[in-house]
């Protein structure tokens, strides 16, 4: 670095004062961050506020209710919403367990074992993933329909759809397993453990973060799924999940007229527990995203 540049830096520093220049940029950043935080929070704030509006059920141009009350929440009970909620909750529970098992089986195997079809299998799944998932849904729906697993009885059908192919979502978990040194496996095998024992006694205790991450994402998935649930529900009210149901309330202008505030209340009821769960386990989610997704 030349002497002129050093001199230039010194001059600039002396002109502003190093601390002052840093303080200026920091202030700008703080302002930006506050603005960003407000923008990000506003929609949710609005939803919550609107859910307490009593004087009308349709869309209005103002945010703060003129009359406050729990009316909308009470009304939720008399709609199909509780059924949707129950549906989605049950599905989410089952999916959380089964999908985690399947994903972990897949990602552990692909991380640890080197078998002949491994590279081909991963490439095949990559190509398979390039097809829009919806395409499979069209025929699956018809088959499930024949088997009677659609409409009101969509629970087992939809669960099957979610978990059966969840093995394809191995990428993040596999990335995590890859960071556990293979020499641990080898030491355990020399110590006398079978491959199955290596998994249960050595690897799983070390995999707590990714297991929690997988359970969390598996649980949250069904709450937000729209497309697949819509196919399977056949738009029969009792067969919907919360996403399809709440969307149906805003599907047309006439519906919106009557259901807008109900939608807000329903949205809060759905979002609150999921958000709380997420924030509690936030640490694992972040670890999963930054660790597995990036390094994998």
């Amino acid at each position: 670095m030349s002497n002129e540049n050093i001199a230039e830096l010194e001059k600039r520093k002396r002109g502003m004062g190093l601390k002052a220049s840093a303080r200026l940029s920091n202030t700008i950043i703080y302002i930006l961050l506050v603005v960003i935080s407000i923008i990000w929070i506003i929609p949710f704030l609005c939803i919550v506020l609107q859910s307490f509006r009593v004087e009308s059920t349709w869309k209005v141009g103002y945010v703060i209710p003129q009359q406050w009350g729990f009316d909308n929440y009470v009304k939720l009970w008399s709609t199909n919403f509780p059924r949707w909620y129950l549906n989605t909750f049950v599905i989410a529970l089952v999916v959380a367990v089964v999908q985690t098992l399947i994903v972990l089986c897949m990602s552990y195997t692909l991380s640890r074992f080197r078998f002949k079809m491994r590279a081909g299998l991963m490439r095949f799944m990559l190509i398979l993933g390039m097809f829009p998932g919806m395409l499979a849904m069209i025929i699956l729906y018809r088959v499930l329909d024949d088997l009677g697993m659609t409409g009101e009885n969509m629970l087992p059908g939809l669960i099957l759809v979610y978990v059966a192919s969840s093995g394809m979502g191995y990428y993040v978990s596999k990335g995590f397993f890859d960071t556990i040194p293979k020499s641990l496996d080898e030491a355990a095998r020399i110590d006398g453990a079978t491959r199955a024992q290596v998994l249960t006694k050595i690897i799983l205790p070390l995999a707590k973060p990714i297991v929690i991450y997988t359970i969390l994402t598996a649980f949250m998935g069904p709450w937000g799924d729209f497309v697949f649930a819509r196919y399977v529900s056949q738009l029969k009210p009792l067969g919907m999940n919360v996403a399809v149901g709440l969307q149906s309330w805003l599907a047309t202008d006439t519906m919106t007229h009557d259901y807008y505030t109900l939608f807000c209340a329903g949205g809060v009821v759905v979002a609150l527990p999921v958000a709380i769960l997420f924030m509690c386990l936030q640490k694992y989610y972040v670890e999963g995203v930054t660790g597995g997704a990036v390094k994998g």
């Binding site: 040194p181 020499s183 641990l184 080898e186 030491a187 355990a188 095998r189 020399i190 110590d191 006398g192 453990a193 024992q197 006694k201 050595i202 205790p205 070390l206």
Partner: protein, 374 residues
């Protein structure tokens, strides 16, 4: 305790890369054998094939007379210490060592005895309830050894166990491994890239390069009679000096002419040359730095050189010199052999004379690089 025999063992990877070629070796019971060589020479791969962590492409490996090619690692009667220790992070030191015993359903009181015994020998008793992350490198090293110790295995495998330690600790641990060997009375197979470790620890050394065995022998054999140029340069630090020169025969005596100075090959080496009836011609001459001595100007056999760099090692000087034709050599001179004045003169540009005797000379074929006297 057991013998290990490798017969024509080969390792070929999927992309047809041959990592280990035709490896033949007979390891006797209770022998300490060291596989040594530069990175990628196949030493770790061979060790892992013995352990059962790599598939054997061709050939057989026998442990204690039994062919183990198709046996799982746990059924081969081996124990292994890894380079990065591979301690189970979520278990205490006690549980780490006890792990294999618990898998075999050994009763807890027997486990207690064995583990505490091993801990005492290794000096880690006070760490038994700690987790690996609370231990230093040297301590983890010992736990790894302890884990392998309690298994009463036939063969003890060690894969570069000292590579992750700092220099001082490495020296210390080297001595401890020698003590351990005395206590354990087992067959040891040790892998390293450090020739010092190989020389100090081994009963026999196996030097490897690019998947081939270059030489198998005791440390003395490898040092005094290297099979080829690679072994000669690999063993011993600093590296052996090598130069091309002409070997001539005159009146029943052999002569070499390094840098224009005629030296007779007398002593043991001269006899060997005569015995083997080595023909005159171009050879690669090798001399170790410690075998070159300073000479006085005008002495017969004195080679003129110029000093470039003087490394003060404490008990000796490592002089980096170059000859008239630009060849660089290293000479080791004990400090005690020089006067204070001589030492002062050892600066860049100082003119010196060196020479060496016939008995320290090594001769290698210029094309095959083989030792002409082997």
């Amino acid at each position: 305790m057991a013998s290990v025999k490798l017969t024509k063992v080969k390792k070929i990877y999927d992309n047809n890369v041959v990592a280990v070629h035709d490896f033949d070796l007979d390891i006797k019971d209770k022998e300490f054998v060291v596989f040594v060589g530069p990175s990628g020479c196949g030493k770790s791969t061979t060790l892992r094939m013995i352990a059962g962590l790599e598939e054997i492409s061709e050939g057989t490996i026998e442990i204690d007379g039994e062919v183990v090619n198709d046996l799982q690692p746990k059924d081969r009667g081996i124990a292994m210490v890894f380079q990065n220790y591979a301690l189970y992070p979520h278990m205490t030191v006690y549980d780490n060592i006890a792990f294999s015993l618990r898998l075999q359903k050994v009763p807890e009181d027997v486990i207690y005895e064995k583990v505490t015994n091993a801990a005492e020998i290794l000096g880690i008793t006070e760490y038994l309830l700690r987790k690996p992350r609370a231990l230093s490198g040297g301590q983890r090293q010992r736990v790894a050894i302890g884990r392998a110790m309690v298994r009463n295995s036939k063969v003890f495998l060690m894969d570069e166990p000292l590579s992750n330690l700092d220099a001082k600790l490495r020296n210390q641990m080297r001595a401890e491994i020698i003590l351990l060997r005395q206590k354990l009375d087992t067959t040891f197979i040790y892998v390293t890239h450090d020739q010092t470790e190989a020389m100090t620890l081994a009963d026999r050394i196996v030097i490897m390069k690019d998947g081939y065995i270059m030489q198998v022998g005791t440390p003395e054999e490898c040092f005094d009679m290297p099979n080829n140029l690679f072994v000669a340069e690999f063993i011993g630090a600093p590296k052996m000096n090598v130069l091309k020169t002409e070997l001539s025969q005159e009146g029943g005596k052999y002569f070499v002419k390094p840098f224009g100075v005629k030296l007779e090959v007398d002593g043991v080496k001269g006899d060997m040359l005569k015995e083997k009836k080595v023909p005159a011609g171009e050879v690669i001459l090798g001399v170790r730095p410690e075998h070159i001595v300073l000479a006085k100007e005008g002495e017969p056999g004195a080679i003129p050189v110029v000093l470039e760099v003087n490394e003060m090692m404490g008990s000796e000087l490592h002089l980096h010199v170059y000859t008239e034709d630009g060849t660089r050599l290293i000479v080791r001179v004990p400090t005690i052999d020089l006067t204070h004045e001589q030492r002062e003169n050892m600066v860049n540009g100082h003119k010196l004379f060196i020479t060496f005797e016939g008995k320290v000379m090594h001769f290698f074929d210029p094309e095959s690089e083989k030792n002409l006297l082997v």
